[in-house]
């Protein structure tokens, strides 16, 4: 089963320029897709279409065959696609960790015994089980984001969309969150990450780059680095390691397929 967004999804918020223009995109089950773009590229707008928070002005958005335009579909769609937002603070509803993780399944009308099981499993995956009875205000930013992920997992959706989840986290929080996502990907979840940091997409399968509301590039992550793309023009952060990698490659030296520290060290020592 696949997600399909056929046709052009153009979405205008009353501004001179539509936020999205002629975007056609498919997301397949089990993929980890990175949605890249600078502020104003339309990536957040596109993300909000995936779970019917926004509806296209033109074109269609189908989630597992259900159109987001039909109000009847909204509830089933949101039980298929869960979303985690940028601000860790403003998405936590519960006073206690396990209560917040239970919020989603409670809304879905899941039976109490099953909610307990789901919450326990979700908190374990997110690495928060020992903190299950703690008040939510005692959590760090990174822990709150992991709680948001747990809350999404507890809804038992096949797909998880994260809108710039690491933007407000410190490096330790970022690493922890990405590790959780990696594990989820390995267990078969479909993940869509929105970000502007290139170093976070190394574990993703596919990347889609948005620029000014349109798709500027789409392809495998490994191809992303090998192609000579105008990242700067698109407003994307190029981490220093990637700059080094590209420079070496431009001079024809041996480089690993993907720029990681370990791979670079190996390649440079040959």
């Amino acid at each position: 089963m696949t997600f399909v967004y056929p046709g052009g999804a153009a979405d205008s918020s009353g501004r001179a320029r539509p936020a999205l223009r002629n975007v056609t995109l498919s997301i397949y089950e089990g993929e980890w897709v990175a949605l890249l773009g600078s502020n104003g590229s339309g990536k957040s707008t596109l993300a909000k279409h995936l779970n019917a928070l926004l509806v296209p002005s033109q074109g269609d958005c189908l989630v597992y065959g259900l159109s987001t335009r039909d109000e009847k579909n909204v509830f089933p769609i949101r039980s298929t696609v869960a979303m985690v937002f940028q601000n860790p603070e403003n998405q936590i509803v519960g006073t206690v960790v396990e209560e917040d993780a239970a919020f989603g399944p409670e809304n879905q009308g899941v039976l109490p015994e099953e909610i307990v099981q789901r919450v326990e499993a979700a908190l374990t995956v997110a690495g928060l089980l020992e903190k299950r009875k703690k008040p939510t205000y005692t959590l760090s930013g990174g822990e709150k984001q992991r709680l948001a992920v747990a809350g999404a997992l507890a809804m038992d959706t096949p797909c998880l969309v994260l809108d710039e989840p690491t933007a407000m986290l410190d490096p330790a929080g970022r690493t922890e969150l990405l590790r959780v996502l990696s594990n989820l990907h390995a267990s078969g979840k479909t993940i869509v990450s929105i970000t502007h940091r290139l170093e976070e997409i190394l574990s993703c399968d596919r990347a889609v780059i948005l620029h000014r509301g349109e798709i500027a590039w789409e392809g495998a992550v490994s191809d992303l680095f090998l192609s000579d793309l105008p990242f700067k023009e698109w407003g994307l952060d190029i981490p220093p390691l990637v700059s080094f990698w590209r420079d070496l490659r431009a001079e024809g030296r041996s480089v690993p397929p993907v720029p990681t520290v370990a791979a670079m060290a190996d390649a440079l020592c040959q």
């Binding site: 600078s38 502020n39 760090s140 930013g141 933007a167 407000m168 410190d170 490096p171 330790a172 929080g173 690493t175 502007h196 170093e199 407003g235 952060d237 190029i238 981490p239 220093p240 390691l241 700059s243 080094f244 420079d247 070496l248 030296r253 520290v261 370990a262 670079m264 060290a265 440079l268 020592c269």
Partner: protein
């Protein structure tokens, strides 16, 4: 002209079940016209330290001197200290409240008693320092873009004409272009003689820009030295929660394998060490 901290200690909620030792025996010297970074993970005490430098928090142990003025309770120089040492909190755009950007920038100098006729000059100067367009001055601060809001917030501290500027994670949430812009701005201020103290968990910026770096862990000083020396120390004594920047980690890995490259955060140095300057 310098800030001297000796034996600084601070405990939150002493005598209660929530007692936390935030800082323990911290000493360093921070001369004006230099860039000093305080680096540590969340909870290492760096924000607590920052708030001592302008008297918002008072030392429970040890002493702090700002250009010879001591930071202590009920000191008559506390207000002067607060003017001298500008403090920019994390996500400073959250402190915006005035009707116009102009009023926002005028808030601090008015509080310090700057004569009303000098205020417009202070406002324009501060706006120019951060690169805020003059046209923004008449608008509401809430109508600015994200980047402009941050500039306005920083300008609202600069309008006090502080001698030192302490910033807590000033680049949080910024994209790389805005980050570079801000770093350039701070560098310029440092070159004009302002003391810049950066509190951050981003070791990369600290290594690139600082004259000296203080590393904190659990409220304790781990090392206080030049960037190169700090990098060397961290390689051999890793601190929890602090990751070496990728380039530095790469240079360390290469050295371990016997390659003659310097321990550095600048990949161009690695490149010329490996391949010489071939251009």
């Amino acid at each position: 002209m310098s800030i001297t901290v000796s034996g600084l200690g601070h405990t939150y909620h002493p005598g209660t079940p929530l007692e936390t030792r935030a800082l323990r025996d911290i000493s360093f010297e921070f001369p004006a016209g230099t860039w000093f970074s305080v680096v540590g993970h969340t909870g290492s005490g760096k924000s607590t330290l920052a708030q001592h430098l302008n008297g918002i928090l008072l030392p429970m142990e040890g002493k702090i001197f700002i250009d010879g003025l001591e930071v202590k309770e009920k000191s008559p120089s506390l207000r002067e200290i607060r003017r001298k040492v500008g403090l920019v909190f994390q996500y400073p755009e959250q402190q915006l409240f005035a009707e116009t950007v102009s009023d926002e920038l005028a808030f601090a100098p008015r509080n310090w008693g700057v004569p009303e006729e000098d205020i417009p000059g202070r406002v324009s100067a501060a706006a120019a320092q951060v690169g805020l367009d003059e046209g923004c001055l008449g608008r509401s601060p809430f109508h600015l873009s994200g980047g402009e809001k941050r500039k306005a917030a920083i300008a609202s501290v600069l309008s006090s004409r502080p001698d030192y500027l302490v910033l807590d994670e000033p680049t949080a949430g910024l994209d790389s272009f805005s980050r570079k812009e801000l770093t350039r701005l701070l560098s310029g201020l440092r070159n004009e003689g302002m003391g810049i103290l950066l509190v951050t968990h981003d070791l990369d910026i600290a290594l690139q820009m600082s004259d000296r770096i203080l590393v904190l862990d659990g409220g304790r000083r781990i090392v206080c030295d030049t960037p190169a020396a700090v990098l060397d120390h961290l390689r051999t004594h890793p601190v929890p929660g602090l990751q070496l920047p990728e380039i530095a980690a790469l240079s360390a890995a290469l050295r371990e394998r016997g390659k003659n490259v310097p321990l550095t955060w600048n990949w161009k140095e690695i490149k010329s060490a490996l391949f010489g300057s071939q251009k």
